[in-house]
């Protein structure tokens, strides 16, 4: 297990270096000139050169990339702002350290993810198991077709519709807004309820379909039939045999989804004007804020890679037949 984790972590580091390098290279292929934007319209050539030098844009991109990479381990200082290791750079647009902006935005994305994950796991797996239990009956047909319709919905359609139905025309729920849970737990809950509902609605549908199909698959396995034949009760067969078999698939998919979601749900955050990582990504891109964009991308990629490793390790725990090589 330890060898597996070490090996995979090293592989993950290589991937992260490549991802950040590609982001750097991509950014230098964009015709935007951040120094000019920063300098403003009335910008003398001397000023521009000075700003370029301050921002480090007078160097070639591999050199800049190297500076960025070494700052993570050794720290750096920007415009007199000290940035101790691990230092992820300085946003000249926001005049703040990238690390602190990310730390500032992450709780919003984390809250959005946790809340909706709880809802979609609970309802998705629950409905999927019920549907598999009543396979072919009315309940199964309703659940299956409903989840099919809902999974064809998109956040950018369902989100605005939910805003109209729940907030604008009826005042049933509060407008989406993020308050830290430490400040106001009730406000945190009510402010995120609508985004949670919308985000989890579509994911619930996906998890319902997935749970149902893997449960149905497991229930037709020989060992389930054997368990039934030897007189085991329906519930035990269902929960202890079939569910354990189906859990592997669900844990795998959930782990991967979690990594993606934690990296920032761009469309959801944009729709509900929540200031999480996803919204930060699109804004840093629009403002040509390279250091911030690289920061968000690397965080998002790290989460994806990290959860992939976790999933593989968890899979071995759930399914003893699998050996980590």
């Amino acid at each position: 297990m330890l060898r597996f984790l070490v090996r995979r972590s090293l592989g993950a580091l290589v991937i992260l270096v490549i991802v950040s390098m590609v982001t750097y290279a991509l950014f230098f292929a964009i015709p935007a000139d951040p120094a000019r934007l920063y300098c403003g319209k009335t910008c003398s050539p001397e000023n521009l050169a000075l700003i370029k030098h301050d921002m480090g844009f007078d160097k070639s991109w591999p050199v800049q990339y190297w500076d960025w990479l070494s700052a993570i381990f050794t720290g750096n200082s920007y415009n007199g702002v000290n940035c101790s290791a691990p230092c992820f750079g300085y946003s000249f647009d926001k005049k703040e350290l990238v690390g602190s902006i990310l730390a500032d935005r992450f709780p919003t994305t984390l809250s959005l993810t946790i809340g909706s994950a709880v809802i979609f796991l609970l309802f998705g797996i629950g409905t999927g198991m019920l549907a598999a239990h009543k396979q072919g009956k009315a309940l199964d047909k309703i659940a299956s077709s409903a989840s099919l319709v809902v999974s064809s919905m998109q956040i950018y359609v369902a989100g605005p519709l939910a805003l109209v139905a729940l907030c604008y025309s009826t005042d049933l729920l509060d407008l989406p807004n993020y308050v830290p849970i430490t400040e106001d737990p009730v406000g945190w809950f009510t402010g995120l309820l609508v985004p949670w509902i919308v985000l989890s609605l579509i994911w619930t549908a996906n998890y319902t379909r997935m749970t149902r199909s893997s449960m149905v698959e497991q229930l037709s396995e020989d060992y389930v039939r054997t368990a039934r034949a030897k007189g085991m009760s329906g519930t035990s067969v269902f929960m202890r045999y079939a569910w354990r078999g189906a859990m592997g698939t669900i844990v795998t998919v959930f782990g991967i989804d979690l990594g993606v979601l934690l990296g920032g749900a761009i469309i959801t955050e944009t729709t509900f004007s929540l200031h999480g990582l996803g919204e930060l990504a699109i804004h840093s891109f629009r403002d040509s804020d390279l250091s911030l964009l690289v920061g968000v991308t690397v965080v998002a990629a790290t989460l994806i890679v990290f959860f992939n490793i976790i999933v593989d390790a968890a899979y071995a725990l759930i399914d003893p037949r699998i050996r980590l090589a």
Binding site: V22, S152, Q154, G264, I267
Partner: protein, 347 residues
């Protein structure tokens, strides 16, 4: 072993989007008696598909959307409006001073069936009709491009093995770790700037090509992985060995022996990928980085409707509902195609 040629031709003709072929096949199939005549796998698949009511209905819906997209200029002529004219601004009685349609429900009337776009006062129905064109052109082009890349790299990795397999595998690993949404957004201007020099007038085809390239960059890995696995398994089969012994070169083996056996997963994956590209394309323009004005686009219509949610939800309903129906029909069709090809697959 099944006859590869039969699978190839029939697999090709039943691809969604080729409208005439659907009709051709139906009429050719009808008089065939259900006796003991041998049927090609393609024919068997087609029969299974025709028996699947959901599949046929969703195929009709998809066909309807495709027809609307193809016949958009004809519809525009009969209906008497085009997607670009600012009707609301030309006729002051249609829009209020704040830019909202005077008539209720988004300005729906006998003249403007689906209402008027607030602000510019363009016809919503024509925007919607031409919007299908935008999303279908991009989604079909992206599906074709990702299929070609996925097939080429998947077979190369699976059949050649060794270094090629290792290299392609690592590329897939890296691309899979990219936060895809962020990368779609970040690559858009790069691709655009590669295609035109700055300051040059942006040609009309550019947004289509740029979005297609960007979506394709991160869209081929799933298919490549599946095909790699299948090709890997096929490589060890006797008929490949037989071909090798008779002196067939690698190109012949790939194109004549392996590829015909991969049509089923390729076609199924392409049908399922298409709706995903439709929503991805709309998502990009929803975020304001996809196809830009004046090309009509559903994602941008939905984004525009967000400004008027408090006053009138109609602007959201038309593109929103159209999009859900379109994607749902495509998803159902994809499921049915898979069932028809692989009836044993337990879902």
């Amino acid at each position: 072993m099944t006859t590869p040629t039969g699978a190839t031709t029939d697999g090709d003709t039943s691809r969604p989007g080729s409208t005439s072929d659907l009709a051709d096949n139906a009429s050719a199939d009808a008089p065939a008696d259900p006796g003991f005549r041998g049927l090609s796998p393609g024919k068997l698949m087609w029969r299974r598909f025709l028996r699947d009511r959901t599949g046929v209905v969703s195929a009709c819906v998809v066909l309807f959307f495709v027809l609307v997209a193809i016949l958009a200029p004809v519809i525009s002529m009969i209906y008497g409006k085009d997607p670009q004219t600012h009707y609301g601004q030309n006729d002051p009685t249609l829009l209020t001073d704040s830019g909202l349609p005077v008539a209720p429900n988004g300005g729906m009337s006998g003249d403007f069936w689906f209402g008027l776009e607030p602000g510019l006062g363009r016809d919503v129905m024509m925007q919607l009709v031409y919007g299908i064109r935008t999303s279908l052109i991009i989604a079909v082009a992206t599906s074709l491009l990702t299929t070609v890349i996925g097939v080429a790299l998947g077979i190369a990795a699976g059949y050649l093995g060794g270094k090629a397999d290792f290299f392609i595998g690592r590329v897939i690993d890296v691309l899979m770790s990219f936060p895809s949404q962020i990368f779609l957004i970040a690559t858009m201007p790069v691709v655009t700037s590669l295609l035109v020099t700055p300051g040059e007038k942006i040609p009309e085809w550019l947004p289509f090509v740029a979005v297609t390239i960007v979506l394709s960059l991160l869209g081929w890995m799933g298919l490549a992985r599946i095909l790699r696995g299948t090709a890997l398994a096929l490589r060890e089969r006797e008929f490949i060995e037989a071909a090798k012994v008779t002196g067939a070169g690698p190109m012949r083996i790939i194109f004549k022996e392996i590829l015909p056996n991969l049509w089923t997963p390729i076609l199924v994956q392409a049908t399922l990928a298409l709706p995903a590209f439709v929503t991805a394309e709309a998502g990009l323009s929803y975020l304001g980085v996809g196809v830009s004005e004046p090309v009509p686009d559903w994602g941008r219509m939905i984004a525009g409707a967000a400004d008027y949610l408090r006053t009138d939800v109609t602007f959201l309903l038309f593109p929103g509902i159209a999009m859900v129906i379109f994607v749902l029909a495509f998803n159902l069709l994809g499921d049915s195609v898979r069932d028809a090809f692989d009836p044993k697959a337990n879902r």
